[in-house]
Symmetry: C2
Amino acid sequence: MAASAGQKNHVVGIDLGGTKILSAVVDREGNVLSRAKKKTKAQRTSDEILLRLEECSREAIEASGVPASEIAAVGIGSPGPLDPITGCILETPNLNLSNAPIAPYLIEKLAMPVFLDNDVNVGTFGEFTYGAAKGKQHVIGIFLGTGVGGGVILNGEPFHGASLNAGELGHTKIVAYGDKCGCGDRGCLEAYASKTAMIKRIKKRISKGKKSILTDLTNGDWTKLTSSVFVKAIEANDKITVNEIHRASKYTGVAVGSLMNILSPEMVVIGGGLVEALEAQIMPDIRYHAERNCFPIMSEKCEIVPAMLGDDAGILGAAAIAWKRLESA
Amino acid sequence: MAASAGQKNHVVGIDLGGTKILSAVVDREGNVLSRAKKKTKAQRTSDEILLRLEECSREAIEASGVPASEIAAVGIGSPGPLDPITGCILETPNLNLSNAPIAPYLIEKLAMPVFLDNDVNVGTFGEFTYGAAKGKQHVIGIFLGTGVGGGVILNGEPFHGASLNAGELGHTKIVAYGDKCGCGDRGCLEAYASKTAMIKRIKKRISKGKKSILTDLTNGDWTKLTSSVFVKAIEANDKITVNEIHRASKYTGVAVGSLMNILSPEMVVIGGGLVEALEAQIMPDIRYHAERNCFPIMSEKCEIVPAMLGDDAGILGAAAIAWKRLESA
């Protein structure tokens, strides 16, 4: 694949999620010219999902006014595990895309280079290129959401390791053989700090007779427990919610401190909807527990900051990965 | 500093420890031509320790028959934290060498390039260059001893991070706010798998009335609890010892699995006197618990092996670091 950007000044960045596909045409400085959005319909056939990806790319390109022939490449962030070299998804729990040749398919359809990487690597690389971690060399990203994702940038490059899937920071063990995690193992950060884990504990406490405003706010439908519902509960000083947010932040801080002892990053970027909504509650706790769990020499050299790009981390990170890989191709 | 190896085919590798200084003249293939050894006398003045380092280097050079002018460089592995760029030790609990300009001193005295790095980074780099991890790109080393040390090699290079002191793998948190560690924090691997931690637990159990052959084998003097004493107790199927070795191996395995999820190394090398003496007891436990604590995609790409270089890891690793840094200088 001839992958020179040449004089072309735009790429497509795609954020492929379990619910929606977001795409955007982005220039070298990270400015978004146009956007498109489609439902993923994740349980349809893999052919249908690939077609929706293609259509979502074309829509963004058309809306941008930039001729397709002037687009340098497509970058895609997707849940993994995946192979960033062949551009194939290997497997992913929430998408019907096992062994799906995403990049080869789009290369054929769109006639341009297509690069695939793990969604959280991509989010971290977005923060590194256009957001909170601009200009840093060694950056760790931790994204708290339904699960807990992570990304690792070392020496200015996303680090992939031997399996090409390094950076599963949500599955850093923080309590040996502790709480059961969605991955099947025990004691992972995700089993303490994900929304899934928090909801599980809250439900259990309520079922044991504890009172919480969350019962009213969600009408007992826990799928309605979004970040903004958490905010309302915190504003109402709901004890169960306050405790859970503290607990998730504490364990995240322990993991961050541990990762600082291991990798001594210059910056740890914490992202995800809950952090955006409750930055003032969450970040001080994370910083406090990180410092208590690493050597002063590590914390002196490291800032722990909230992510800056919000919902655009995916498309901007995917665009950044496209630029980066065009450069090194 | 002009640091070209040119036609020179030998370096000095120095292993600076709290008890002894080992030095050796080593060729490019890792063959040892000569050795020297001195007590560190770690509580003497820093000037005296520097002089002993110098003398130990000179003795190895003289014994090798290679003229000093034909030695390309000196590499030193030392406990840290230290600055591998300026070649100064910043601080080290067991040596009276705070803010000691080790490399600048020896450069002046020996008139050749001198390179300093963390002892466990050096041990890992020795295994990478001449031992178990030859030819690998991403390698983690964990050394179980009085403490627990670690080293990280990524893309074929020792990884130092922002503080230049990354790789404190003994202070990976495996039980959030768990057992107290010698570093002052809690829940570190070292608080579960170091000889210090094991002895502390064994003493406590014996003080509570449990019987152990270790009481006789050490005559109650726990400084005599060397690896060979552990071996005798294991051979006698001493229950307390068997349990402690299992427990230390289990927690080491959890940390290894966690590190595999984070960094996806090709190889994890486990070293230290206890592992050498009890490989058959320790390695299977470590492998079992590592696999239970990481994703299959990580373990499929990773071997967990015992170190190969034994007591020579320090001098050979220091020699390897010298060759490496001459190359990139």
